[in-house]
Point group: C2
Chain length 317, copies 2
């Protein structure tokens, strides 16, 4: 097990979150239940993002937080981020094995020998299940496709004492698949929308060129290349850390996923893609960090923006 | 890998679901994305259950689909259901290991040797994370506690060709922790509520004494004892199978979780608990099975019940 001690400021923030019922400790770093008020804020934020992207008229499929292991293997994720993946193992044995497993677990001994790799893995980024699903439909219509995937749980193996670094969190993900220019324009639109959202809810946000946390020495080269090509931008806001924390990312994949999963434009060329992800728990944490633990103390314009809109649901069918 | 072929009727139903965009195949049995209409129905159903239980004034915490491995080990789950659990393994190696991992994955070889058991496992039942969280708060108030956990993702390692048997699905879970009589009364109330809900949405439901799918030969004894004590009831409805499918369960745990996780009543005695779970995807599937693939063809009273209520959200704080 890795050490997972946050800075003093992070520990203080975490303790406050727990004391106010916003975070419910599980005993494991980076794994918390959330209280009702925290969830209310997170849900409002989710709705704000939905509204910001509604004019794109996206399709709204939903995916569970597992994908086939084969999808992960094909995607290239293991090459770049082997240290972050989570693979599901299951029991594969007879009654004697089961008995030994239970006894080992009871004694606190290793029972992993009774488990075998299954065919499913945890979703590492919310857009991964979408590409094979879109590829299955055949070539795209002219204009491509826009997806609003809602808030999906994603997994990162990085136990941490920083309350803003969770092992399992909601990535609020939007995806554009189409021509190279269309997806870059769409990404630019979302960078503007995201800055507006942060402004509306009183968060001091900075947009920066960024890179992914690639593994190992070779990862440094990948990072440099990614930055040089401006493939990734991040929106950063302060959350209990000396440096601002990324709460949203804007990623151009070029033809990577189109090529790996066989997604074609209407003219038969390989499709490009981009995705935009909002870390819902992180933005919610940023709100509690910026405005305080009690919502009644938050600036009025922030509360109005999150809660004032009356949502009316009418007959659907 | 297990065989996972559904019956002819199940295969037909699955194909229809896919053709109508309700299920998006991932390539893995029991793992599907869901289309927008399916999700809309599921969300309405979720809201119907929320309203049915609102008079209990439950607390509404939310938990991610992972729990500490230690929680699973303590819970007794491994003894009863080792075959269903999902344990998260992660990469634990250097750069040479990472390279070998990628090459093995690329060749389709086993790369599990590079992975090690982590400290987290998939949630096997939505109420599991709640008990340690409640225990942390100290003895219960008089009257105990009622929880509405929302729709939580849970994992079962049982790849199947039956579209109603998913590896990862939403368990809409409610929990009561208190005195032995209080939790049994509450469970009875929910059995009545659940029958009413099914009636309202046009599902032909039967309530039966049931047992869990305990592992192995010893499991038969546990099943018999569970049935004799009426610890588990299930609500069954038809979904593309010769026998009706359980879509909801009503479980009395006696003092099991109270004792394992140290939850005390206000008087210091060990607390009892009960939980009620609704399989949201299953009930949604039951609706498509009973009323057809197109919502416009559903009986008017069913559509009215699910969609007619205007939900108005007002200022919170």
């Amino acid at each position: 097990m890795r050490t997972a001690v946050g800075t003093g400021t992070q520990q203080d923030f975490l303790q406050k979150l727990v004391r106010h019922g916003h975070f419910l400790p599980s005993g494991e770093p980076g794994l918390y239940g959330r209280g009702e008020v925290f969830e209310d804020v997170l849900g409002r934020l989710d709705a704000l993002i939905t509204r910001a992207g509604a004019s794109d008229m996206p399709e709204r499929p939903r995916f569970p937080p597992l994908i086939p292991r084969r999808t992960l293997e094909k995607s290239g994720y293991l090459k770049s981020f082997p240290h972050l993946c989570g693979v599901v193992f299951s029991f594969d044995g007879n009654e004697a094995d089961a008995l030994d497993l239970v006894e080992r677990a009871h004694r606190g001994d290793d029972w992993s020998t009774h488990l075998a790799m299954s065919d499913v893995v945890l979703v590492p980024a919310a857009c991964y299940p979408a590409y094979p699903a879109i590829a299955l439909r055949g070539p795209l219509s002219p204009g491509g496709v826009t997806l609003d995937l809602g808030g999906s749980y994603v997994f990162r193996h990085e136990p941490s004492g920083d309350p803003a670094r969770l092992q399992m969190f909601h990535q609020r993900e939007l995806v554009r698949i189409g021509s190279a220019q269309d997806v870059l324009d769409w990404r630019q639109t979302w960078m503007n929308r995201a800055r507006t959202i942060c402004q509306q809810i009183g968060l001091d946000a900075t947009l920066e060129v960024a890179s992914d946390p690639f593994f190992g020495r070779g990862g440094k080269l990948l990072s440099t290349s990614q930055r040089e090509q401006c493939l990734k931008f991040e929106l950063l806001v302060p959350i209990a850390s000396p440096e601002a924390t990324a709460v949203s990312s804007f990623n151009a994949h070029q033809e990577h996923f189109g090529s790996v999963f066989g997604i074609q434009l209407h003219d038969g060329h390989v499709a490009s893609s981009a995705c935009v992800g909002f870390g819902l728990e992180r933005i919610t944490l940023a709100l509690f960090w910026a405005h305080g633990m009690e919502i009644r103390d938050w600036p009025e314009h922030v509360r109005n923006r999150l809660w004032s809109e009356v949502r009316v649901t009418t007959v659907h069918a």
